[in-house]
């Protein structure tokens, strides 16, 4: 197929969505979403389960057709020019999608053929991407001998094989142990530096989004709630979080509201988290009130806001790592290991 030159986007927007919408029956999964992403950006999509992240991603990857609206990727329309869009993007799915009866090299070879990587470059390119994710010495092992983390790394390598302009990572580190997660972060950082690649990732992990992304969009109910640099997001909500360990969190909660010491309060088993403007000034008053009320306090911490706080601030929900999903991810992996 002859590659036609991409139309020029405005400035250097590699992705531009225009009122992108997806409905399933009466349920609106993605609600008229418009945003632009610049070349070389690492862009994070955060949101609770069912917020529309994966649906949004699926439409950009041309797996799903939008109900209305459209998007341009690398200058190509995702509806009318999807074969060109597909050549411009690499995708790492949430669920594993490698063939475990084949070796790593065979999986990559097949991908290179499907994506029309020139034959003369295939060998070197495969070597290069394997090296990037540190799997070169395991290139000829069958994938059923690979661990979950290694498969993930191979999938990232595969996503990069055909020189995509944009790499989509849907929950790239879900179900992985902390060390494998650390590895994957490292590759993502390397990619940004070396290849000036645009990376779009969805994640459940706040610290992941915070440490990797140039910009973050928090999505809830199919809409962008807020979108900015992580540092600005954290500044934006203002104030500190006071975490108080005590035996009667429920009573302390009521007390803090009655005394108008804090308005954003989250309680758990043995803890109360209160959002306040200036922790250093408020904390003594909190302790005094608690003492007067006879509430015994075990521990106290003041912390600057992190992404978790940003998330709670904007969505009113905690973004706990969904254990069911994690388990099912692991199950799928076990299933495929058994199926060889």
């Amino acid at each position: 197929m002859i590659k036609k030159p991409p139309k020029m986007c405005k400035k250097q927007n590699i992705i531009e969505t225009i009122n992108l919408t997806k409905k399933f029956g009466t349920n609106i999964a993605v609600d008229s979403l418009s945003l632009s992403i610049q070349q070389g950006e690492v862009f994070g999509l955060l949101g609770p389960n069912g917020a529309g992240k994966t649906t949004f991603l699926s439409m950009l990857c041309t797996i799903m057709k939008p109900t209305s609206g459209t998007a341009l990727i690398n200058g190509y329309d995702i509806i009318r020019e999807h074969p060109f869009v597909r050549r411009s993007i690499g995708i790492v799915f949430q669920d594993p999608s490698v063939d475990s009866d084949m070796t790593a090299r065979e999986n990559l070879q097949m991908h290179a053929d499907l994506y029309d990587v020139p034959v003369s470059e295939q060998k070197n390119r495969i070597k290069a991407v394997l090296q990037l994710v540190g799997l070169l010495d395991k290139a000829d092992d069958f994938l059923y001998t690979y661990s979950g983390g290694m498969r993930r790394r191979l999938e990232i390598a595969r996503g990069l094989l055909h020189y995509p302009k944009v790499l989509f990572l849907d929950e790239p580190t879900i179900g992985l142990d902390p060390r494998s997660r650390e590895h994957i972060w490292e590759y993502i950082r390397k990619l940004r530096e070396r290849e000036n690649m645009t990376i779009i990732l969805t994640t459940h992990y706040m610290e992941e989004a915070d440490s990797l992304c140039d910009r973050i969009a928090i999505i809830d109910n199919g809409k962008i709630v807020v979108m900015d640099k992580p540092s600005l997001l954290k500044e934006g909500i203002g104030g500190d979080t006071i975490t108080i360990g005590c035996n009667e969190p429920e009573r302390l909660h009521q007390l803090l509201i009655r005394e108008k010491l804090s308005e954003r309060i989250l309680i758990s088993d043995m803890e109360v988290k209160a959002g306040v403007k200036n922790g250093n000034l408020v904390l003594p008053r909190v302790l005094e009130s608690a003492f007067n009320a006879g509430i015994h306090i075990n521990s106290v911490t003041i912390s600057r806001p992190d992404m978790n706080d940003v998330f709670i601030h904007h969505t009113g929900k905690t973004l706990q790592v969904d254990e069911v999903r994690e388990k099912s991810g692991r199950l799928a992996m076990m299933k495929r290991r058994r199926a060889r």
Partner: protein
């Protein structure tokens, strides 16, 4: 060009996987032996068909049977690809659905042909007259049978969501097609309903054509060779269209 390379790489995957699966190859080799030597010998001596060596008679039928069962089993492998996520990787590639279907079909067809050809050496063991010329004439007929069957398998795989339905295919496709093909008994003396049911089965024409080639004058043809070929061709084209349509709808 890129589409051709895509078809090639999908073909290669199927063939590699087939040849690597040693237990299946052993099974492919041994099952026809049981039919030929135990079932064949038993039938030959207990219910002889006048003027015909029963083992020679069922040999072409067994080739077709092996190809039928393999087509269904491997065709349904698309379900595994879906179950373990690999199908997604192929579906999002720039290759068109038609070419994906073609690559898969050609790959599975190659496996099925290998399965059919494996059985041929046994012809020497039971003393059937056969030579390279006969073998070469048999190949195109086997190929025509294979394409249609593989498309049936792929059609079901596209429609089925899980592997649980495979038992249904076994009962409602494999066995009826096998029993109604004239592979195990001649259709000349059976009741009219059984005869007509068999004539509706495209495999009957495949078995007939294969026997014409392999048994020579000892076999009284059911239909002229040209009709056999025509029916098989029609069967292939129809099943290809149905299979391709069903596959294009999967997501």
């Amino acid at each position: 060009m890129s589409e051709l390379r895509g078809i090639y790489t999908l073909w290669l995957r199927e063939v590699k996987k087939f040849l690597r699966e040693k237990p299946r190859l052993i099974n492919a080799f041994c099952q026809p032996l049981l039919w030929l030597f135990i079932f064949g010998t038993g039938m030959r001596f207990s219910s002889a068909i006048p003027g015909i060596n029963y083992q020679e008679f069922i040999f072409p039928g067994l080739v077709i049977q092996a190809m039928l069962f393999t087509s269904m089993f491997l065709g349904v492998s698309v379900i595994w690809d879906r179950e373990f996520g690999f199908l997604k990787e192929i579906l999002v590639s720039p290759i068109s659905r038609t070419c994906i279907f073609l690559g898969k079909m050609l790959g599975v067809s190659t496996d099925v042909m290998i399965q059919g050809i494996i059985i041929f050496p046994f012809a020497f063991l039971i003393g059937i007259r056969t030579d390279l010329y006969i073998f070469l004439k048999a190949l195109p007929i086997m190929l025509l049978v294979t394409f249609g069957l593989v498309c049936i398998g792929l059609t079901f795989a596209s429609l089925m969501k899980s592997f649980e339905g495979f038992g249904l295919i076994q009962t409602f496709i494999n066995l009826p097609m096998f029993f109604l093909s004239g592979a195990l008994f001649p259709l000349a003396n059976v009741p009219a309903w059984l005869q007509w049911a068999s004539y509706l089965n495209p495999l009957t024409y495949g078995v007939d054509a294969l026997r014409t080639v392999m048994m020579g004058d000892t076999w009284v043809q059911l239909f002229p060779m040209s009709l056999d070929i025509l029916v098989l061709l029609g069967f292939d084209i129809l099943m290809f269209i149905i299979g391709k349509t069903a596959f294009s709808r999967t997501d």
